[in-house]
């Protein structure tokens, strides 16, 4: 009962948008896609949805290919937001849910509940074009999950939202996951992926450069940071074996190391130099991993 993407390749003429991409997303999991613009995220989503057929490979959801028969189980928030500008919000939500085979009555009830949850209950009778961009986005998200899909695909769900609304939508998405939905989403905000996801993939030019559970990704990245706050000049420590990088800070320095044992050496040496105020071995952020993995291709 999972989403399988097996060796999927998509070519547009000579251009390879997605190159031999494979991944498995467990049911009830939340998977984050990271990637620069044009890395192949949207194309991958379109192939998962069956909007585009892969040049090679296949996609399976619960052991079956995704077709229009599975439409009621799938929810989609496209990267390019789109709703009928002249249609009333409620009418629109009901129409889109009906296309996913939800009954009109259920759709109406759910739409009212969701609008209330997003603190915009009075928008039901307004036209979409009258709403602000952020509020349109809320409506767009409601449209994606109103019919209670078991697989929810969100392409950049938080772009263009203010922090308060980002929190509101994040919470809604997490709650939706708790009800058992499998969620795939893309972002170029690393912190969102880090906060929400169990698993992630970094895409670059159609290939997965890093993928798997976030913890494992971080550990296998091999690079850690040691933060030392000492009342002394630490520049002499930059030459210690195993230190890749040395950055001075106001209260001490940050050392980039490849081996955890180097941290102990650094600690021992630093204590001899002066009074130690702070010592920490920090995991790399996804941002650093992303820059290290993707940035070097662009260099």
């Amino acid at each position: 009962m999972t989403l399988h993407v097996e060796h999927v390749t998509k070519k547009f003429g000579d251009f390879t948008a997605v190159d031999n991409l494979s991944l498995i997303i467990q049911e009830g999991g939340m998977h984050g896609f990271l990637g620069a613009n044009g890395a192949g995220k949207t194309t991958t989503f379109r192939m998962i949805l069956g909007l585009l057929d892969p040049t090679e490979g296949s996609v399976w959801w619960k052991g079956k290919p995704i077709t229009y028969a599975s439409s009621p189980e799938i929810g989609y928030l496209p990267e390019e937001r789109g709703l009928y500008p002249k249609m009333k919000v409620e009418e629109q939500l009901v129409y889109l849910a009906q296309l996913r085979k939800m009954s009109k009555g259920d759709a109406k009830r759910e739409a009212t509940a969701w609008l209330k949850r997003f603190e915009v209950p009075h928008y039901g009778q307004k036209k979409v074009e009258e709403l602000s961009k952020g509020n349109q986005q809320k409506i767009q998200l409601i449209a994606a999950l109103l019919h209670k899909p078991s697989l929810l695909i969100l392409d950049e769900p938080f772009s263009g939202l203010d922090p308060v609304n980002v929190e509101m939508l994040k919470k809604a998405i997490l709650d939706f996951q708790k009800q058992g939905a499998t969620i795939v989403f893309s972002s170029h905000r690393m912190d969102h992926v880090e906060e929400l996801c169990d698993d992630m993939s970094i895409l670059d030019r159609g290939k997965v450069v890093v993928g798997g559970p976030i913890k494992k990704v971080k550990r296998s990245f091999g690079k850690q940071k040691v933060r030392l706050n000492v009342d002394a000049d630490l520049s002499s420590l930059s030459g210690v074996a195993g230190v890749d990088n040395f950055t001075k800070t106001k209260e001490g320095a940050i050392f980039q190391i490849t081996d955890e044992r180097v941290a102990q050496t650094l600690l021992a040496k630093a204590m001899k130099l002066g009074t130690l105020r702070h010592f920490a071995v920090e995991e790399p952020s996804l941002e650093e991993i992303f820059i290290a993995k993707v940035g070097k291709y662009h260099a």
Binding site: F12, Y68, S71, G82, L83, Y84, Y95, L99, K101
Partner: protein, 416 residues
């Protein structure tokens, strides 16, 4: 099927509820009633200000004046002959001032010489009637001087019997033709408007859904092909509804007009003897023409990213329709011409041209049936092809707006 009906209903209802649709319908219906009652309306205005049609005549012979008045009366005109007591220069001034419309100078030497003066030479005045009257006086005078009696004059001017008869079996008699012509003309006009108006509506709808980006949600829920055909069917029903409203309004307008319209002008237009088959063919060709062009329009609409570009891509299609209408409207006087016959089997022209032939000629049944079959096949092929383009086209965004994009769209929508 469930989602088909939902899209169908949505396409139908949202369009039917738009202000533009309601206003257009109301205006056209109002125009029908206005046209049907035009003679009554004109009569009201005529009754309110009876205008004296006075012709000032400068002539030395009062006999000529009397003759002219008699002739004009015989010709059933309301022109009143009044001897002018002014000089010619004064009369000309009066015309420039606008106090009189025209005057006539009549002199007799060897023959009758008449000079008709009005404000401008091309004015639709009473010039023709006056010329005929003067001609008649001249004839009478000449006949008198030649010593012919009235019977001989009558014989001289007796009209020949000139009847047109056709040998071709499919041709209708002259009388039938002129009767059919008016009705066929009106119906071709309706089909012509319908195949422009409703397919354009579809192209705009598709382009709007694309430009507002709601399309991607729609086609991730329902297959693009189903979406396309549901939309075409929905707008098609809207078209039928509108045509029904127009038809009923037109019928009621004629019936309630108060004047006996089945005689008068309308008998010339063939409304008195309406053949049911003409109407049935009109509905059939309306539907076929609509579907043919609707599929084409949906295909073209799916290629553009902005509604502003729709008209540009629709141009080739509009040209096809315009050519079809030119053939049909020119063929109405020569329905048996070769180019009409040939083009009635070309699918894009057939809705108008074959209907013209069916309406104007007594065709063997196989001809319209063959044409209908050709159209059905074309609709099928276009539907299949259009669906493929549509599938890729709706995912395509960019500044592109040329027919070359069809290839790109097919590639994008391709299986491999």
């Amino acid at each position: 099927m469930h989602s088909f009906w939902i899209i169908f209903k949505q396409a139908f209802l949202t369009k039917a509820k738009t202000k533009s649709f309601i206003i257009t319908t109301v205006i056209v219906v109002a125009a029908f009633f206005l046209l049907a009652n035009i003679s009554n309306i004109v009569a009201i205005f005529d009754g309110e200000e009876p205008e004296e049609n006075v012709l000032y005549v400068l002539s030395e012979e009062t006999e000529l004046l009397e003759n002219l008045q008699v002739q004009l009366a015989l010709m059933e005109t309301d022109i009143k002959v009044v001897p002018a007591h002014l000089t010619e220069t004064e009369l000309q001034e009066s015309i420039t001032e606008g106090t009189i419309d025209d005057y006539l100078v009549l002199t007799r030497n060897e023959q009758l010489i008449a000079r008709y003066v009005s404000e401008s030479a091309n004015e639709l005045g009473s010039g023709n009637e006056i010329e005929n009257a003067v001609q008649a006086i001249h004839t009478a005078i000449t006949a008198e001087s030649l010593g012919l009696d009235a019977r001989q004059v009558d014989q001289l001017f007796m009209l020949v019997e000139f009847e047109r008869q056709a040998v071709s079996e499919s041709s209708k008699s002259q009388e039938e033709l002129s009767q059919a012509r008016g009705l066929v003309y009106v119906l071709i006009m309706l089909i012509y408007v319908a195949v422009i108006y409703y397919p354009n509506m579809i192209a705009m709808e598709v382009a709007t859904e694309k430009s507002s980006r709601v399309m991607e949600i729609l086609i991730s829920s329902v297959s693009p092909v189903k979406h396309m055909f549901a939309k075409i069917a929905g707008i098609g029903c809207l078209g039928i509804l509108q045509m029904l409203i127009f038809g009923t309004a037109g019928y009621l307008a004629i019936k309630t007009a108060g004047t006996d319209l089945t005689e008068g002008i309308f008998s010339v237009m063939g409304f008195s003897e309406v053949k049911i088959s003409t109407f049935l063919f009109a509905v059939l060709f309306f539907l076929l023409g609509y579907f043919l062009y609707a599929v084409l329009a949906a295909l073209l609409g799916s290629l553009v990213s902005r509604t502003e570009d729709v008209q540009q891509l629709m141009l080739p299609m509009m040209i096809l329709i315009i050519i079809a209408s030119l053939i049909a409207f020119s063929g109405i006087t020569v329905p048996e011409a070769n180019y009409v016959t040939v083009s009635s089997f070309i699918p894009f022209f057939a809705p108008l041209v074959m209907f013209l032939r069916v309406g104007m000629l007594d065709l063997p049944l196989w001809e319209p049936l063959l044409s209908i079959a050709i159209m059905l096949v074309t609709i099928g092929v276009l539907g299949w092809f259009g669906a493929r383009v549509y599938r890729g086209g709706v995912l395509m965004y960019g500044s592109s707006q040329s027919l070359k994009d069809i290839r790109k769209a097919i590639r994008l929508g391709n299986k491999k």
